[in-house]
Symmetry: D2
Subunit: 388 residues, 4 copies
């Protein structure tokens, strides 16, 4: 099947949330390489995010990370975003960089540290309220490095208590989204290591607690699309953190490592209603452009998602269902592969032109002079990174 | 700390369930090597299991696998077990060897196949009732080999429906235990691949549905003791299938591949109350003795569990809690390691003697002439294996 | 870039070797499902392989497995192949199904067993000479299941000795190809677990010893195209065993699990001269069609390889080299992805028509009545499988 | 078997090399937590290393990392070490933190960068000559993050050329030790990803090129002791970087994650002659004490190695060989496990006392006041870490 106008209408409704931190410097424990033109503050990050949206038309919101994106005047930042044509999205908390969090935050053995971690989240909710953001995303770096270091079960109980306090502070239109991660930075155990644990806590919290699925946070070989299916089926998929990986949490550009996996994930999203307006599923990027350009990295990511979604829409679902019904293993697989191998790029380029966007957003960016300008203008100050 | 009399009393209450099929032939897709003396029928399997219990005093029950252990007269088999000093334990269903199950059983696209699979489980419940068994264990080989082959979500819905029918047929004192498995024999997706999926179904079924944790059924690197902790915390750990692995579902002798992992798992069992009489946790072995002796393989397994549990009991939990409380990473870890490195073997040998058991059950078996006798007597007929 | 006539000339030279055993039954340790129409002897396997070649024009040779394909009259089998338009390719030895090989073959602690294993290989060389085959492929199931079971180093020394004897028996135009495998059927250690070990033995043997790379025989996450590159660079890549996997040695259809990985592998093949006439690289399939049709499974595999190779040929290598030279990370990656996403299928269909072949070999097979005929005719006898 | 006096004599010859950087701060990409008392310069690192040696008697040398340990007066540092009772060991190069190395060093597409990387190594050789160090250890962070980013094969050729230049500059008594790593910081491919690649380069270089095996640098499930065996067999094992891991390159304390794996590795060391005086195998630690104390972390590591080696020495090798010879799978395994489960700690404590060392080096350190003193004295300046 080919891309139809109806498919393109569906794609027009796609909103990919970009992370403010993707525009800052990032790296590995071995080295963070600095990049010319990198933003010095949240306002400049918003500018870069707005540039990506202007070129792709598909990235209307920007996730913030507190305290990396803490500003004195939140309203000014919110207005700045609006003026640039984007809005503030998910607010991400951070309880892994203050010295008190060395052995954990919400799961820490010390009640004082847990209290500080809860209060940080309450402050994040204030930012949500000020910015109009509806999602509080919690990724915890909590865990241990050595067996015996702490009591796994007591930590779960502490977590339950902390999350309940935070959840209770949300306004009725706000949600808590709990992310899980297989490992790193903790190397023996992670307090929310898998979707089962995240779901367990969400069920205990209430209806507005959802699971965040980061595509890089699983054990080797995990069938991620199965989890997508299951969470959609249970009505508990809150958001994606899209990226890709060959090994661990590599945070590479989404679709770069295993494009067919991205196809299968998006096929389950469509199958499970995740694209529908009321699904409540947020499509966020969470990546590190360690060695490639930050803005180009984000443009590429947005394009990868929309192109792959277009391939999914080309799937002949009626023929597929029929092949599945009759147990035609190879026939059904072939129908799926036919969609994957469809070259949707020319039609999408044309569609962009029809929408007043550049046919080739990457070429348009490179020709725009934007990068040269920020490298020229953003001199002095401290480049944004994970530490600030 | 050393093993105390109180610890030994705790160990005396340990009951390890052995699987009938461990005494039959098993192998890989490449070859099943036959072993002299292997049982030809369920009665002879019971004999071998009784031999293991007689030597160790810790293996009082035998799990059956239907139809491998189907007999004309179930009562006779039950009596045979009682006469040999053991009893029938968990009943395991099998919906992966009939030709109709090529594309699944409870999740199959065809309603007729699903019906047959449900009926097989109802027949298993009849066996439970006849034998006095309280647990129906369901491990499904259901899954697909190729993306698109079937609809992942529809299969979950079919599974929900089939399990509900089976669960409804249980007597009030009977339980359904749902096992999960990462992969194999299906190579793209498995319908119950992880504890989260198993738990989800158990929650939907009711209080008497529990999760079975097979220690070989996880992705590489999975922290299994965390799952043990979580399921105990949620009151949903139904049983263990103990074995060990270096790579996939290798089904080696429990404790053979990574003894420290077994220690950590058992430490969470004790921590979470899994040893207590009312915990409802069944300790079962599920192994394949492909190249080693079957009965010695089971003796070794039983000994490995009890020895490791003894090491866990040596743990100075008060000192550990105190070290954890003060955030003493290395101190806490050292307390755990000290228990692991304690040599409990001499005291356990003495304890066995005190209980009227051989100090060295393996040596006693080798000296007993049992193996020579069954090799001599079990001539003719068809050796038991996975196919019969 | 698009597929050019020159590219198509290159593709016309492609020769994919099919394995005789792909047409027989296969399965897992849990169950081998029988398929109607499966060959009863090597002659019928050749018939099916010839059918695949007739429809695709790209599968002119058939690998045999001894003793599965042992026949009284090898010359008759060779002639039968020629009459059907194919020829006998690689001869694969088998030292894992005789009872004496329970603890190994060339690495076995017992000299008598090692001698038998060597002699089996000498018999295989006789078959090679009779069939005109130039490659002896050795995959050893040798290994151990438990630490301490045998002496890892002594086994290497025994292996060295056995291989040397076999190598010495080869005619000057014959080669020894040594396959490695990460695990299975041995679950603690494998005697040739990785390409480094295989290479080490090949270097010790001589120029006509090469490494066989089975794409399913690596640890999770292994960068297989790197190994392809390295072996081509060292002049020691002897052959591929193509298949695909999500977890372990799943033996799924090549290109089914991670198409982009197949693309990268083939890109390194082209880059390293592996397509050139004198490269000595054999492209073999080694798969198990457990639940899908055997002949369709082979047709799909052949098509997947040629389609992916066509995408590789679309790569703009000049532009890629230039982007790499200037350190343009995303630009270089994009050039690669552009080739991967090129839809080569229509041009290949046309090309097949130009060559007098069906545009759609799969549809042609389904319409041919071949399957119905063999299901009708192949009644009685014993279906071929791994055991015979 | 028990530890004999002969065994203790063997252990007395053990020399574990500690890394200077273990005493500085380290962490993950998320956070480097600072620790009070951490050294500000290489002299203070030597002091801490000397403390570990004074307490254990088994850590007589310190590996340096250039430029982290670059000092104006190398002779002064060498004398400082001698005065503290230790000596300078392996010199580790570093080509991953200068901005020019963003896309590689010895494998970089730009000849100028490659030249700089070679020159850095020549400067390291100068340090070796000045300090009397005999080993230049090269771990390259070189690799790529995205397929197509660079030419895998051209990078190998550049690597070959660079290594040859460096090797040629070594004095006749100096060695080049080439480390391999599965992934990180590069996330698509690593230029020296496995032992096969490292060995290939060593063979091309000459007799004094050896492989460095870091126990954390392998794919999940890799049988590391097999590689140890193979490299010893080939005479190419140059050194260990000991640490342990649950997931990736976690750099935890050696023996902490899987003690039985450490046992098996050391058993192959002993089996292969790696403990003998002329083996040329260097036993180095390479760890990150991110959340635990640095000096206690090193003490624990040294003790773990010696304790595990003591268990290995308890192995009844004659009985093992006999059990292996007769194919007694479980018997042989049991002999191995018996050694592993032997409690060697009391005898080792006594042995330390006999040698004039504290029976419990960890308790002695904690009681010594050393930590309190350095926390008091090391105020001001910049704490050492990976960046300086």
């Amino acid at each position: 099947m080919e891309l139809t106008d109806e498919h393109l209408d569906t794609l027009a409704g796609l909103a990919i949330e970009v992370p403010s931190w993707a525009y800052g410097n990032s790296g590995t424990r071995f080295k963070v390489f600095a990049t010319p033109g990198v933003p010095r503050d949240p306002f400049e990050k918003i500018d870069d995010a707005a540039c990506v949206h202007a070129l792709t038309g598909l990235a209307p919101s920007v996730a913030l990370h507190i305290p990396w994106d803490q500003v004195d005047d939140v309203d000014a930042l919110t207005r700045h975003a609006a003026e640039r044509g984007v809005r503030i999205g998910t607010i991400n908390s951070n309880t892994f960089q203050d010295d008190i969090y060395k052995l954990g935050s919400l799961c820490h053995p010390d009640a004082g540290v847990r209290k500080a971690a809860v209060e940080h989240h309450l402050a994040c909710i204030d930012v949500m309220t000020a910015t109009g953001s509806s999602d509080l995303k919690i990724w915890l770096a909590d865990g241990t490095n050595y067996p015996g270091q702490d009591d796994l079960r007591a930590r779960q109980d502490r977590l339950t208590e902390g999350l309940a306090t935070i959840y209770a502070a949300l306004a009725p239109h706000q949600r808590l989204v709990l992310e899980y991660k297989f490992f790193e930075p903790a190397f023996y155990h992670t307090d929310v290591p898998d979707w089962g644990t995240s779901l367990t806590h969400c069920l205990a919290l209430g209806e507005r607690a959802r699971v965040c699925l980061d595509t890089g946070h699983h054990a080797p070989g995990t069938n991620i699309e199965f989890i997508v299916m299951q969470l959609l089926r249970l009505g508990r998929l809150g958001s994606f953190d899209f990226n890709s990986r060959f090994y661990a949490d590599d945070d590479l550009i989404v679709g770069a490592a295993d494009p067919f996996q991205l196809f299968r994930i998006l096929a389950e999203v469509v199958r499970g209603g995740g694209l529908e307006a009321d699904s409540g599923v947020v499509f966020m990027l969470d990546q590190c452009h360690n060695i490639e350009g930050k803005i180009p990295g984000q443009i590429r990511s947005v394009l990868n998602v929309v192109e792959m979604l277009a391939r999914v829409l080309c799937l002949d679902t009626a023929a597929l269902a029929e092949a599945q019904r009759r147990g035609d293993v190879l026939g059904a697989n072939q129908i799926l592969m036919d969609a994957f191998y469809t070259d949707v790029r020319p039609r999408l380029a044309q569609w962009r032109t029809e929408r007043g966007l550049p046919a080739d957003p990457m070429a348009a960016f490179l020709a725009s002079g934007y990068q040269e300008r920020i490298e020229r203008e953003r001199v002095g100050g401290v480049q944004a990174g994970w530490g600030a």
